[in-house]
């Protein structure tokens, strides 16, 4: 009886988390007449017709998918690089001003991002940065340096300080110690920190919506436009675009799942 209840629980969980994603990806492979029907068609002739149509009618989609990739990669590098340096200092040094600056880093993260779009909009225009990859890279990285610094600090805290001292005795400078001794041991933390920024940057909508118009547009934005311009029959094409945006990041997360868990527990419970 208890076993049965548990099994039902598991089925409900799978229906809730897994089914919606699976259903969309499957629908992108259905012939157009089988997509928008009830009850759903389960046995169908798989077709790549919608992907071909997407390629023909919305070739820009693939360019914007590439934009997303470039922006996510550079935002990740910037956020993880900056946070590793800061995380090291916050882990190994103490001081009143330093503590205050760490507190500031956390508190500032509480501000709702939409609030800063108001002054940034004209400023960015004036700096000639609107609709550039660089702008999105900086914005995305900024919103994750706080969490990443906490994650890196937590991971570096776990590396014994004696190693630093030993390196110092051997004549290593501080930066040599960081790069040769600490970083190889904190690599796990860097991956954990990277997972968060990368997934966020790949998926972000609000900033891309406000600050890009053509050149630096990202995949989520073009998908939203595709959704807005739909006339019933093109759902297959929309699902094809959705699958192309979703499947790579889902596989990425699947492979790096344990880092997600490690990062979240380090970030929320220790921080």
């Amino acid at each position: 009886m208890k076993r049965l209840l548990r099994l039902l629980g598991v089925l409900a969980v799978l229906l809730w988390s897994g089914f919606p994603i699976l259903f969309i990806v499957l629908s992108s492979l259905k012939p157009a007449r089988d997509i928008f029907v009830y009850p759903p068609v389960w046995i169908f002739e798989p077709t790549f017709q919608h992907y071909v149509e997407l390629w023909r009618q919305w070739p820009v989609f693939f360019g914007y998918l590439q934009n997303s990739l470039i922006i996510a990669i550079f935002a990740t590098l910037l956020a993880v690089g900056a946070s590793t340096l800061a995380g090291f200092v916050y882990s190994r040094y103490r001081g009143r001003l330093l503590t205050a600056s760490a507190f500031f880093l956390i508190v500032v993260r509480l501000l709702p991002p939409i609030v800063i779009t108001l002054p940034l909009f004209p400023t960015v225009d004036w700096l000639g940065l609107s609709d550039t990859h660089l702008l999105l890279v900086v914005l995305y990285a900024t919103f994750f340096v706080s969490l990443n610094t906490v994650i890196m600090k937590a991971f570096i805290d776990g590396i014994p300080g004696e190693l630093d001292d030993a390196a110092k005795v051997d004549g290593a400078t501080e930066l040599q110690t960081l790069f040769r001794v600490i970083l190889p041991l904190a690599a796990q933390g860097m991956v954990a920190a990277a997972v968060f920024v990368f997934v966020f940057s790949w998926n972000e909508f609000l900033f891309a919506f406000i600050f890009t118009t053509s050149n630096a547009k990202t995949a989520p934005l073009i998908i939203s436009e595709l959704m807005g311009s739909l006339t019933g029959v093109e759902w297959g094409m929309l699902f094809a675009a959705v699958s192309l945006q979703l499947v790579p990041i889902a596989i990425f997360l699947l492979l790096l799942q344990r880092f997600l868990i490690a990062g979240l527990t380090a970030g929320s419970l220790k921080g």
Binding site: R6, L7, V10, V13, L14, S17, P20, I21, F23, I24, S27, Y38, P39, G81, A82, L85, A86, V89, Y93, R94, G95, L97, L98, S101, F104, L105, V108, R109, L110, L111, P112, I114, V115, I116, L118, P119, V138, T142, V145, S146, E174, V199, N203, F205, L206, F209, I223, M227, W235, Q245, L246, A250, L253, L254, L260, I261, L264, T265, S268, L269
Partner: protein, 292 residues
């Protein structure tokens, strides 16, 4: 512990300058803007607290305020309840645990845009794979595009779906640290499953649940994309939340001063939420100290 020197400050500088330049200074600027009459192409005129007065007299603002209040609370507490149930289920031992865990975490990878598309399709009143069975069971026709309450319900559903992995992981990580001996003792004393949950699992997880609550309150409060992509705040501005209200006042109606005032109201409200729950967390930590 060593004291930081110039090199250490230099190492902290990239992180701090990003946060100062992109978040801190612009927010102060928003505070200044909120005291001005500001539209595109015209010089700002200082008007004191007039924007705040206008804001408090705007019924669309109050509608957005009430919507945000309801939606955020529904999202946060439904999510917490589900996370708790899920953590208990996982802890009870389930078949193919690693696979199920991977599937549970999957929505974390889904963007808001994609989630909106997925759920619009599944909850379509005519052909939705989820709505049709419910309608057949006698539930009312799910008209999210026309009926504001249904629209907001769909927003809650999507938001809970997207963020459950986060809340679940925090609660589940805490659940794994509860010592088995406690459950062993409860079993020997003949406690029922419900009693065990009520007397052991729930109290032991309170600190983690509070942490999850703070995070989720602050993040749910920013809710924008789900609403914007689903209803754009319509029909008749009835489903707006604060972030959507702010966006519309500034980018649609060009009232940057009023929008800035709304922005600062959001800042203050999220600050209040944070302080309230942080205090709860601290009080809770001190309250449980002697019991150990």
């Amino acid at each position: 512990m060593r004291r930081p020197g110039p090199l250490q400050w230099l190492m902290v500088l990239p992180v701090q300058s990003l946060v100062i330049a992109v978040i801190a200074l612009p927010s102060l600027w928003v505070l200044w803007l909120s005291l001005n009459e500001a539209t595109y192409g015209q010089a700002n005129v200082f008007v004191g607290l007039k924007n705040y007065a206008t804001l408090l007299g705007d019924r669309y603002f109050w509608r957005a305020f009430v919507n945000t209040f309801i939606v955020v609370n529904v999202i946060v507490y439904v999510e917490l309840a589900l996370a708790l149930a899920l953590a208990t289920l996982f802890a009870a031992g389930i078949p193919w645990r690693p696979v199920v865990l991977a599937i549970v975490l999957m929505p974390f990878a889904v963007s808001e845009v994609v989630a909106v598309i997925i759920w619009r399709f599944l909850m379509d009143p005519e052909v939705g794979a989820f709505t049709r069975p419910l309608t057949d069971l006698g539930l009312p026709y799910f008209d999210w595009a026309i009926e504001p309450a249904h629209g907001l319900a769909l927003v809650c559903l999507i938001s809970v779906w997207l963020h459950l992995p986060f809340t679940f992981l925090i609660v589940y990580a805490a659940r794994l640290t509860v010592p088995d001996e406690l459950y062993e003792a409860a079993r020997i004393d003949g406690a029922t499953g419900w009693q065990t949950f009520r007397r052991i699992t729930f109290p032991m997880l309170i600190p983690a649940m509070l942490v999850a609550l703070v995070f989720r309150y602050i993040f749910a409060f920013r809710l924008f994309s789900e609403v914007w992509l689903l209803t754009q705040g319509g029909p008749a501005r009835l489903t707006e939340v604060l972030a959507v209200y702010l966006y519309k006042q500034s980018f649609t109606y060009n009232q940057f001063g009023l929008a800035s005032a709304a922005g600062w109201v959001m800042v203050v409200l999220s600050g209040m939420i944070a302080v309230f729950y942080m205090r709860l967390i601290y009080r809770n930590m001190f309250a449980t100290e002697p019991a150990r």
